[in-house]
C-alpha cells in the first residue's frame, strides 16, 4: 500500500473526509470515505466521482462561500466552519466541522466527524451553563433575601422607632405610678423587640445587621483611591474586550489621604456595579474614567463614561430604585444600583448620577471621611443628653397638684424633677407648623411640641405648608424633606421666592431621614434655617426650633404691630387690661367681676351641650365665651373656645370633650390670675404673676 493511501485510510478511520476543490462548488473525493458519510448523505454519495457538497448540506453550502474566498486568496493556515450537527436520512445526528486548507498545492476541504470529542465538549459546556444558571438563580435568591431583610430593617424598625417616641412622650407627661409602670414595660419591650430584629439580622445576614447598627459600631475604613485602582485593574480586561479604555483619573494624587468610612469588599462591589453599568452603555473607542475627589468632609468617588448620558426627562434617583432599568437602555435585573444605594446610605453617604456637561454620564457616591466620622462620633458622645427618666413619685405628685388645680386650688410651686427639667415649658410659646407626610411622625412631633407648651398645626405636603402660611403666621415651620406632591425643599424654595417681595422671613427647619452633610447642605441651599435628622432627639428638636424662631424674629422685617396677631402669646392678663382699658382700674374690676360671675355659666352651657351632643349650642356658647375671654387677652383660652366654636359649627364633636377640658384648664388659669388681680390693692403697679399653664392632652391638628 502506497504511503499516501495508508494516510488516507487512516484519516477515514479517524472520521475525516477529504475533498479536493475543483472550482464552482464541485469537489473530488480523496481517499476512502469514512462510515458516517454514507450514513449522513446517502450511499450514492460514495459512487460519485465528483460531488457538489453544498447540495447535501445547507450549513456547508454557507461555509463554502468562505472556503472559496480562502482558496482564492491562497492564504496560509485554514478557514474553519465551526461545529454543526448534520441530520442523516435516518434521523441520526452527526456532529461535524469543516476546514478549508491548502495541501500539497491543492485546495482541500476536510470534514471531520468529532463525535468522540463532541460528548466531552457538550458535557463541559452543559456543566458550565448549568452552573451559570444556578449561580444566577442563587444571586436572585440572595438578593430577594437581602431585600426582605432590608424591609425588616426599614419598615419594621420605623414604626418601632415611632412607638419608642410615643413612650418618650408619655414619659415626658405626668402619669400616675401604675400607668408609669406600664410605660416602663412598654419601653423595655420595644427595646427588646429592636434587639430581637437585630438578632435575626445577625443570624441571617451579618452584612445587613452590621449596617443596621452601623451607628453604634465603630465603622471600618477604606482607602477609596486604593479601591479605585483595584477596580481599574480588575475590570481593564473586560473593558478592553469591549473596545473601551478604562483608566484611573490622572488627577488622583496617591500621596493624599483618601480614607473614608466603608469596607473594601463592599466598596469593590459598588465600583464593580458602577463599572458594569458604564460598560453597558459606553460606546466602543471611548474611555471610562474612575477617580476620587474631596467634597467637604466627604470623599466623592466617580465613574465617568462617554456614553449617551442619562435618559432625558427621568430623574436620576429613579436609576437607583429597586428593579429600576434605564428606558430603552436596559441593564440587568435592576438590583445593582439599588444595592449601591443601600450600602452607601447605610454608611451615611449618598449616591447619584448626572449627565456631564461635556457629554456622557457621571455615576458617583460620596462617603464621610474616616477622620470626620471619628470627629462626629466624638462630638456625639460629648453632646449626648442622658435619657430622660420619669420619676413616678414626683410625677404623681405633680399630677395631683394639677388635679387639685382643676378644683380651683391655687397652683403650688414644686421642684421640677430631673426628667421634667428638660421638658420645662419654653420661655415663649411658639406657633409651629409641622409638615410631614408620615402621620405618626407628624403626630409625634406635634405632641412633643405641645408638651413643651407650643401650639402646632400639622400638614402633609409642601402645598399645604404654603396654603397654611397664607392663612396665618407661624413662628417656625418644621419641614420634612421628602413629601408627596411637593417636597420640603421645593416648598422652601417657593416660600423664599415669595419672600423676596414681602421682605419677611419665615423660619424653616428641615427634617430628613438622612443625616448626611449633603442633605444638610441641600436643606440650607434651598433656604432652610436649620436641619434635623430623624429620629430626632426631643431636646434637640426644642432647641433647634426655638433658636430658629428667635433668629427669625431678628431676621424678619415685620413691624412690631404685625407681630401682635390675636393669638400672639406675649402679654399677661394684667398688662393686657392695662393697655386695653388705658389703666381704668374701676373698669378692670368690673370686667373681672362680670366675667367671674358669667364664665362658669357659659362653661356649663358648653359642657351640657357637649354631653347632649348639641353641636349648634356648643358653637354658639363657645362663641359667646370666646368673646368674653378675649377681653382679657388669654390667647390659649381664646383658641380653645374658637376650636370648640368651629367644631360646633361644623357639627363634629368628636374631639369636643378634649378641647373642652383644655378650655376649662385655660379658664382655671385665667380665673386664678383675675382673682389675684382683683384682690391686689394696686393692680396697676403690681400685675398678677402669670400662673403656670398645665400641660394638656389636646386633639391634634388645631392651631392654637
Amino acid at each position: 500500500m502506497a504511503p499516501d493511501h495508508i494516510l488516507e485510510s487512516f484519516l477515514a478511520k479517524e472520521g475525516f473526509a477529504l475533498f479536493e476543490h475543483l472550482g464552482n462548488g464541485v469537489f473530488r473525493p480523496i481517499g476512502d470515505f469514512p462510515p458516517w458519510l454514507a450514513r449522513t448523505w446517502g450511499a450514492q454519495f460514495e459512487r460519485s466521482a465528483t460531488v457538489r457538497l453544498g447540495q447535501h448540506s445547507a450549513f456547508l453550502e454557507n461555509f463554502l462561500v468562505d472556503a472559496e474566498e480562502f482558496w482564492k486568496a491562497k492564504k496560509d493556515g485554514s478557514a474553519n466552519s465551526g461545529n454543526w450537527i448534520e441530520r442523516g436520512e435516518a434521523g441520526d445526528q452527526t456532529p461535524l466541522e469543516a476546514a478549508a486548507l491548502w495541501l500539497d498545492g491543492r485546495p482541500v476541504l476536510l470534514i471531520r466527524n468529532f463525535l468522540r470529542s463532541f460528548g466531552e465538549q457538550k458535557q463541559w459546556l452543559q456543566t458550565a451553563r448549568d452552573s451559570l444558571l444556578a449561580h444566577e438563580q442563587l444571586v436572585r435568591e440572595i438578593q430577594k433575601k437581602e431585600i426582605l431583610l432590608h424591609c425588616i430593617i426599614h419598615d419594621l424598625s420605623q414604626p418601632l422607632s415611632a412607638m419608642r417616641g410615643c413612650f418618650n412622650c408619655l414619659t415626658a407627661g405626668d402619669l400616675p405610678a401604675d400607668l408609669g409602670r406600664y410605660v416602663d414595660l412598654g419601653q423595655r419591650e420595644s427595646q427588646r423587640q429592636e434587639q430581637m430584629i437585630r438578632g435575626i439580622l445577625e443570624a441571617f445576614s451579618g452584612e445587613l445587621a452590621g449596617q443596621m447598627s452601623g451607628a453604634e459600631k465603630a465603622a471600618d475604613t477604606v482607602d477609596l483611591a486604593e479601591r479605585a485602582r483595584h477596580a481599574v485593574e480588575s475590570f481593564s480586561a473586560a473593558f478592553r474586550g469591549k473596545g473601551v479604555h478604562l483608566q484611573l483619573d490622572p488627577a488622583l494624587d496617591p500621596s493624599r489621604d483618601w480614607t473614608s468610612i466603608g469596607d473594601a469588599p463592599r466598596v469593590d462591589r459598588i465600583f464593580g456595579n458602577l463599572l458594569e453599568n458604564a460598560m453597558r452603555y459606553t460606546p466602543r473607542g471611548t474611555a471610562v474614567t474612575l477617580g476620587v475627589v474631596e467634597k467637604g468632609n466627604s470623599l466623592l468617588a466617580f465613574v465617568d463614561d462617554e456614553g449617551p448620558g442619562l435618559p432625558k426627562g427621568e430623574p436620576a434617583d429613579k436609576l437607583f430604585m429597586l428593579f429600576a432599568k434605564g428606558k430603552d437602555r436596559p441593564g440587568k435585573a435592576g438590583l445593582g444600583l439599588y444595592f449601591c444605594k443601600m450600602t452607601v446610605e447605610r454608611w451615611g453617604g449618598t449616591i447619584g448620577a448626572e449627565t456631564r456637561s461635556r457629554g456622557g454620564s457621571r455615576f458617583w457616591f460620596s462617603l464621610p471621611r474616616a477622620q470626620s466620622l471619628a470627629t462626629a462620633s466624638k462630638n456625639a458622645a460629648a453632646n449626648q443628653t442622658p435619657p430622660a427618666r420619669r420619676l413616678p413619685a414626683q410625677g404623681s405628685q405633680e399630677r395631683g397638684l394639677l388635679e387639685k388645680g382643676s378644683k380651683h386650688q391655687p397652683a403650688k410651686e414644686t421642684a421640677t424633677p430631673p426628667a421634667r427639667r428638660n421638658l420645662a415649658q419654653a420661655e415663649k410659646a411658639l406657633r409651629i407648623l409641622v409638615a410631614d407626610d408620615s402621620e405618626i411622625n407628624r403626630e409625634l412631633a406635634m405632641e412633643l411640641l405641645k408638651t413643651r407648651g407650643h401650639s402646632t398645626l400639622g400638614v402633609s405636603d409642601g402645598h399645604q405648608v404654603i396654603e397654611a402660611l397664607k392663612k396665618q403666621r407661624f413662628d417656625v415651620v418644621l419641614m420634612d424633606e421628602e413629601m408627596p406632591e411637593m417636597g420640603g425643599l421645593e416648598a422652601t424654595r417657593a416660600i423664599r421666592k415669595a419672600e423676596l417681595s414681602s421682605g419677611q422671613h419665615q423660619a424653616i427647619i428641615g427634617l430628613t431621614g438622612n443625616a448626611t452633610k449633603e442633605d444638610e447642605e441641600e436643606c440650607l441651599k434651598a433656604g432652610m434655617d436649620g436641619f434635623l435628622s430623624k429620629p430626632f432627639d426631643m431636646h434637640k428638636l426644642f432647641q433647634t426650633l426655638e433658636s430658629a424662631a428667635l433668629g427669625a424674629s431678628r431676621i424678619a422685617s415685620e413691624t412690631p404691630s404685625a407681630l401682635k396677631t390675636p393669638d400672639a402669646p406675649a402679654e399677661d392678663v394684667a398688662a393686657h387690661l392695662q393697655r386695653t382699658t388705658a389703666g381704668n382700674e374701676k373698669l378692670i374690676r368690673s370686667l373681672i367681676k362680670s366675667f367671674l360671675a358669667d364664665a362658669p355659666k357659659k362653661l356649663s352651657a358648653i359642657r351640657q351641650a357637649i354631653s347632649r351632643k348639641n353641636a349648634e349650642t356648643v358653637g354658639s356658647a363657645a362663641h359667646a365665651l370666646k368673646g368674653a375671654v378675649a377681653i382679657f387677652g388669654a390667647p390659649h383660652a381664646v383658641a380653645s373656645a374658637r376650636n370648640l366654636e368651629s367644631m360646633g359649627r361644623a357639627g363634629n364633636l368628636a374631639n369636643a370633650v378634649q378641647e373642652f377640658q383644655a378650655l376649662e384648664a385655660e379658664l382655671q388659669i385665667l380665673e386664678r390670675q383675675l382673682r389675684a388681680l382683683n384682690a391686689a390693692p394696686r393692680p396697676k403697679s403690681k400685675p398678677a404673676r402669670p400662673a403656670r399653664r398645665p400641660r394638656r392632652k389636646t386633639p391634634t391638628g388645631g392651631a392654637r
Binding site: 461545529n83 459546556l125 452543559q126 451553563r129
Partner: protein, 178 residues
C-alpha cells in the same frame, strides 16, 4: 419551492431549540440541553397559500464561552430574536446581538420573542417590554415553547414579513427555488 433561511438568535438557555422543536416536531422537553454549534431543521409551511420551506438555523446561544459567528447569518431572510423573560440579562444579550446583526445585514425582518411566558409570574423583564419595543416598530410576541403559545404565530408572522420583503424587492434575494 421557495426556501427561506431563518436564524434563531439569543442568549443561551432562552429556548431557541425548544421553539424550533415545538414548531417542527410538536414536542417540548423541560430539561435544558445546551446547543453546540448549529443545527439546521426544515419545515414547509403555507404562506399566503404558497408552500414555503423554512430552513431553521438553530444557532448556539451567545455567552462568554461561545460568540455567534456572523458568517452563519449570511443569506438569512429573517430571524427570531429570543429572550427569556425570567432572566433580565438575556434581553441585553438579544439587543446587543440585534445591533450586531443590523450592522452586518440591513433590513432583515425579525420578530422579538419574549419567551417562557408560561412563567410570567417569574419574569424579570418589565411587564411593558413588549409595548416598549412594539412602539419602535418591532414585531414582538410573548411565546412559550412549553405550552406552544404563539409559537406558530411567531414563525408565521416572520414568514409573512420575509415574503413581503422578498416581493417588495425586484430580485428575489437569496431565496432559492427547488
Amino acid at each position: 419551492m421557495i426556501t427561506q433561511k431563518i436564524c434563531m438568535l439569543g442568549s443561551f438557555s432562552v429556548g431557541k431549540t425548544s421553539l424550533v422543536r415545538r414548531f417542527v416536531e410538536r414536542i417540548f422537553f423541560d430539561k435544558y440541553h445546551t446547543t453546540i454549534g448549529v443545527k439546521v431543521d426544515k419545515k414547509t409551511v403555507p404562506v399566503n397559500n404558497t408552500p414555503v420551506e423554512l430552513a431553521l438555523w438553530d444557532i448556539y446561544g451567545e455567552d462568554d464561552y461561545q460568540k455567534v459567528k456572523m458568517m452563519y447569518l449570511r443569506g438569512m431572510h429573517g430571524y427570531l430574536l429570543v429572550v427569556d423573560g425570567t432572566r433580565r440579562q438575556t434581553l441585553d444579550v438579544a439587543l446587543a446581538l440585534n445591533d450586531k446583526v443590523t450592522q452586518t445585514i440591513r433590513d432583515v425582518p425579525f420578530v422579538l420573542l419574549l419567551n417562557k411566558c408560561d412563567l410570567a409570574d417569574q419574569w424579570e423583564i418589565e411587564p411593558d417590554t413588549d409595548k416598549t419595543y412594539a412602539a419602535k416598530g418591532w414585531q414582538v410576541l410573548r411565546t412559550s415553547a412549553k405550552t406552544g403559545e404563539n409559537v406558530d404565530e411567531a414563525f408565521s408572522q416572520l414568514s409573512l414579513a420575509m415574503l413581503a420583503k422578498m416581493n417588495s424587492t425586484s430580485s428575489p434575494g437569496e431565496s432559492r427555488s427547488t
